[in-house]
Subunit: 122 residues, 4 copies
DNA sequence: GTGGTCTAGACCACC
DNA sequence: GTGGTCTAGACCACA
């Protein structure tokens, strides 16, 4: 993982889990790594992981079986999708469009760049 | 200005000036408000403005005429454009496209949303 | 440290760190004193240290491990050397040579003075 | 003139006059431009010129004939030489030598660079 | 604990 | 008048 970014680490961890859910790498009922395991694995302070899991628990994406660990909640994928989608439509896109306007980037260019991106990521 | 956002004020000020340059509200050679003026005007501590101006000076977007104030530098618009554009193409767009992939949002939808946005902002 | 000089304190701090890197008193990966520690140690306001560290971070000589402190970056010594060397060759030396010309100081004298200096500083 | 440098303008003006004296472009008894003339000529606030002239007067390099203007004083060239020389030997050179030590620049290189400089400035 | 930001207020050099 | 620097002290997010 890139800790280089300026986004808070605990948010990056949460994001990562949400993405794994969306690509169905993690499914409802799956157990996620314990706080200590994950912390050791990604070289991070356990408190940071606690915060990420706490956030996801509050969003009802994880739930905590006391003494057993954290599990992907029922309906997690839908919730994850709504969460991401809302953020994308209401936060990200407006800014993107505003910037395009400012830089006078036409939609055509955006589409072209999108094609490029898809070809690369295949 | 919206101090509501969680972005640092000094960055918001800098951003604002860059945008004014991009829409040619500010042009090379124009004098910007003095530190104290701007601070009073937007209800902010002068040191905060100093920080913004310092940043923009280092980016060669502003330059300081000793004892007279800050002026929009020659070529500021090009520098501003490159700055914003680079950030947009290398930071923002890849994330946007990745999210679209994750949420399975097709390009069509993106284009439609863009049209909506343009109609609203007119 | 000599606060007597009229050079800004935050620049003196940065210079001092750069020198410590050049004489390998500080090496890549070493942790530097925390902002508060250094501030207390050299009797200076923490904000002043923040400014120094910020400068060095931007120059990629320090990097910040979130919540842990500042560390000497990889390749810091090369960057420090280039920085100092460029300044010396492009700013300092031309002025020195110009002054020598003006005062009609021959190279011989310069060399002699250099020997003297080395003997003293041994 | 380059107002770009970070040296104070009034010091740059004074320096310039001292240099003109050292290369005997200005000689004892010569009248220098009036404050207003010089200020207009080099696009600078008259107060700044006043300060430069004041400095040089205090150093007995200029003297003021009230109502007539400023003139190069008797013995100005010697005083100018001593001034520059002292500054050079006591301020500049020690720093230069210290930097050379830090960057491990041998005397040979210094001499070579000096030759280069002389060839260029011829 | 770490750094990041902001405020209020001061002093300074310079134009 | 201008900006540049520094202090003291506060609050915050983060690890």
């Amino acid at each position: 993982m890139n800790w280089n970014e300026h986004k808070a680490i605990y948010l990056q961890i949460a994001d990562h889990i949400i993405e794994d859910i969306l690509i169905e790498k993690l499914k409802s009922g799956d157990r996620v790594a314990s706080v200590r395991e994950l912390a050791a694995q990604i070289q991070v302070n356990p408190n940071t992981v606690v915060r990420s899991y706490g956030m996801l628990e509050q969003a009802a994406i994880l739930h905590n079986q006391r003494g057993l660990g954290f599990y992907i909640a029922e309906g997690a994928i839908e919730k994850a999708r709504v969460l991401k989608r809302t953020e994308f439509l209401e936060q990200t896109l407006p800014e993107v469009f505003k910037t395009m306007q400012l830089l006078q980037i036409p939609v055509n260019e955006l589409i072209a760049l999108h094609h490029q991106f898809q070809n690369i990521s295949q």
